[in-house]
């Protein structure tokens, strides 16, 4: 499923992290994240986001950079039980990894803030 970024979306999207290549938004009311990357906006729930992270982090970018064979410089990121598939060039993989790394740092920071500030205050 490819979702386009329109005003008809039900919940409020909050920026989690963005780079020149894309943006990750969080939608609290839908309990999900939207990733605007490679020309599409895709919706990910918790499980799928974790799977995407695992899939992208497991790509050996260094090995691909050193690979001198004439194979096309393209990687298919298929996530089991998830609606989305990415077909990315090596440069896009680097960009997606950067986007996800930043996203998870921000989500972790959000977790720390909730843990240290809000939950102790209640």
């Amino acid at each position: 499923m490819v979702t386009t970024l329109t005003e008809t979306q039900t919940g409020i999207w909050e920026d989690v992290f963005s780079t020149k290549a894309g943006t990750v938004y969080q939608c609290d009311s839908e309990t999900c994240w939207y990733i605007n990357f490679a020309g599409k906006v895709a919706k990910f729930d918790y499980r799928c986001l974790q799977k995407l992270k695992k899939a992208v982090y497991h790509i050996d970018i260094e090995a691909k950079l050193l690979d001198s064979s004439k194979d096309p410089d393209v990687e298919i990121i298929f996530i089991c039980a998830c609606d989305h598939t990415y077909i990315l060039t090596l440069l896009q993989i680097i960009e997606l990894k950067e986007l996800l790394q930043g996203t998870f740092v921000m989500l972790q920071l959000n977790n720390i803030l909730h843990d240290k500030l809000y939950r102790t205050a209640v």
């Binding site: 909050e14 989690v16 969080q26 609290d28 309990t31 994240w33 918790y46 499980r47 974790q50 989500l107 959000n110 977790n111 909730h114 843990d115």
Partner: protein, 178 residues
């Protein structure tokens, strides 16, 4: 912005990974003990074989305990791949030396998870791990005691036969056990 990841799971990615690693370690222990039970049985050490069958069952139980905890806390439990199990041993004593090594390695691994949880203030997982730390006292004691029998009895003459009989009787019932 809500903390959606925390809503879904109590475990951090790092702790979940360590717990899954422990699942694999317990599965590995179970398979190793099963191989030891087979070796002992084939070589006429029936009591030791029975002892290792029981140990294999216990390790399997530990594996499932970790596995279900991960799931109960909202994590992703991964069924482990276990390969490369040593099937042959050079001596009766070597079996018990390896058994103790395995138990020490399990204790170390649990300590590592415990340290990580303390660092993250994941006291819920720490509390869960307390049961395993107590269990390791017994496991290490039993493995160490079995090896001690080789020192006090010796394998000469009917020594190996005597050791085998005593292995079946090893119990951890000291006052410190409670």
């Amino acid at each position: 912005m809500k903390d959606l990841i925390r809503v879904k799971s109590l475990l951090s990615t790092e702790v979940e990974e360590l717990l899954n690693h422990q699942v694999r370690k317990e599965a590995l222990s179970s398979s190793i003990y099963l191989a030891m039970a087979s070796w002992c049985n084939r070589n006429g050490f029936d009591y030791s074989s029975e002892y290792f069958f029981k140990q294999a069952e216990e390790e399997r139980h530990h594996q499932l305990k970790f596995y279900k905890y991960i799931l109960d806390m909202g994590g992703n439990a991964v069924s482990p791949e276990v390969t490369g199990i040593k099937q042959e041993y050079n001596s009766f004593r070597e079996v018990f030396e390896d058994a103790l090594d395995q138990e020490i390695s399990v204790t170390q691994s649990i300590k590592k998870i415990y340290a990580r949880c303390l660092n993250e203030q994941d006291y819920v997982t720490n509390e869960f791990l307390n049961w395993f730390l107590k269990e390791q006292r017994e496991e290490e004691y039993k493995a160490r005691r079995a090896l001690e029998l080789f020192e006090v009895i010796g394998v000469e003459g009917t020594g190996a036969w005597e050791i085998d009989r005593h292995v079946g009787k090893i119990k951890y019932d000291s006052e410190a056990a409670d």
